[in-house]
């Protein structure tokens, strides 16, 4: 049975933890709104970009000579995985979920006897995969000091990916990030960015439009595809940022609630043992008086 003093101390410490988690929850909620707004604002750009590329690919005249970024190298030997995670912890399963999905894929790639290369963005993800897959990591990025990720950062990574591709370092590239669905649901995702995977929309098949291109299709594609990679990475960044805040908010909300429950339980314990000790003292006094 812990003493009254011990209980008092514990209650106090749990209460101060609760204060911290509550503050973090509030900060995350404020940041979430902004991040969510950004993610929503960023969606049209990547969507329209995909659309243009889709239209371009449909009307490309000579698929044999199409840029390799679109069609792939024709090989299926080595894979580049870009792992996007947060730089900060205390956000529930956010980082672990991405890593879990990534590890599953890593395992599959390796078991098929293919070469695996990893670019880790964000320190938390790197920490989680370091032990098992540390030797496959070829590059790591961290934008910890940046308050908000801008398109420039996405471009840095995009350029790196393209540079490696041009050096024939890999055949396929995957992007791992959390897709922000709503505050409590974030879905970890693996997106293939090289060769470009373009979702065909269903109803647009019929009204195929023949475009005028200036300059030639191939040239436009060559200009557009690298941009598309940066755009997709940027989109992933934005989704990730919103997911991180959402995930942190729910995690901290839970933590606050749990701390509250714990305080209640400890307070009951405290009162009970206080009462017990008073009763004990009373009995001692009464029995002392009786024996006189």
């Amino acid at each position: 049975m812990p003493s009254l003093d011990d209980l008092k101390k514990r209650i106090k410490s749990v209460k101060s933890t609760q204060k911290i988690t509550k503050a973090m929850k509030m900060v995350a909620a404020a940041k979430l709104r902004k991040a969510q707004e950004n993610a929503e604002k960023g969606r049209p750009y990547s969507l329209k970009m995909q659309n243009i590329i889709l239209n371009l690919t449909k009307s490309i005249s000579d698929p044999q000579n199409a840029p390799k970024l679109l069609t792939g190298t024709g090989k299926d030997k080595s894979y580049l995985c870009v792992l996007l995670t947060a730089d900060r912890g205390l956000c529930g399963g956010f980082n672990s979920n991405i890593c879990k999905l990534a590890k599953l894929n890593f395992k599959k790639i390796l078991s098929e006897g293919k070469i695996l290369k990893i670019i880790a963005v964000g320190t938390k993800g790197l920490d989680q995969i370091k032990r098992e897959y540390g030797k496959y990591v070829i590059k790591k990025f961290s934008f910890k000091d940046k308050k908000q990720i801008s398109f420039d950062e996405a471009q840095i990574i995009g350029n790196e990916v393209i540079k490696l591709f041009n050096q024939d370092e890999f055949d396929k590239c995957f992007l791992f990030y959390n897709n922000f669905k709503n505050v409590i649901t974030q879905i970890p995702q693996a997106q293939q960015i090289i060769p470009a995977e373009i979702q065909e929309s269903k109803d647009k098949e019929e009204n195929f439009i023949s475009y005028e291109f200036e300059p030639e299709e191939d040239e436009i594609l060559e200009d557009l595809l690298p941009k598309n990679i940066s755009t997709q990475i940027f989109k992933a960044f934005l989704e990730n940022a919103a997911s991180e805040q959402g995930s942190r908010m729910t995690a901290m909300d839970n933590a606050t609630r749990n701390a509250g429950e714990l305080v209640d339980k400890l307070t009951i314990n405290y009162n009970r043992s206080r009462q017990a000790s008073i009763t004990k003292e009373l009995i001692e006094i009464i029995s002392g008086a009786e024996s006189l």
Binding site: K41, Y45, K48, M49, N51, Y211, E212, E214, I220
Partner: protein, 129 residues
């Protein structure tokens, strides 16, 4: 109103502009290009220059690069950064010229880049006046 079509300028961060216009002039890669209503579907990319949107008033945007799609009387301009000419900071033009000229001096750039950068300098110098 029937003479008008919609223009959208979209950057990675937000939709910068969505409005109507009866003519838009874009600095296409192979020369300036004026677009009117019922232009045939077009995809092209841009060199550094000015987008001029003509409506009841004229709006000018400076862009570094971009991609344009025109379809069904909807002009879509995707660019990583667009700046309204009126909202330029005092020294933005000067600084951009300076950094572009520096870049031009460095030796490891392709002819294509050289062309684009010198073009950018020309446009910026015009703006200065």
């Amino acid at each position: 109103m029937s003479e008008k079509f919609t223009v959208e300028i979209i950057t990675p961060n937000k939709i910068l502009l969505k409005s109507e216009a009866y003519e838009v002039i874009i600095p296409s890669y192979e020369g300036e290009m004026g677009i009117l209503k019922d232009h045939i579907p077009l995809i092209t990319f841009l060199k550094p220059g000015l987008i001029i949107i003509k409506d009841s008033e004229e709006k000018k945007y400076f862009i570094d690069e971009g991609t344009v799609e025109f379809v069904n009387n909807n002009l879509l301009i995707l660019t990583s950064a667009a700046k309204n000419v009126e909202s330029f900071e005092n020294n933005f033009v000067e600084e951009s010229i300076k950094s572009a000229e520096e870049h031009l001096k460095s030796s490891d750039i392709s002819d294509k880049e050289r062309y684009l950068i010198s073009n950018k300098i020309d446009v910026l110098k015009d703006l200065r006046k």
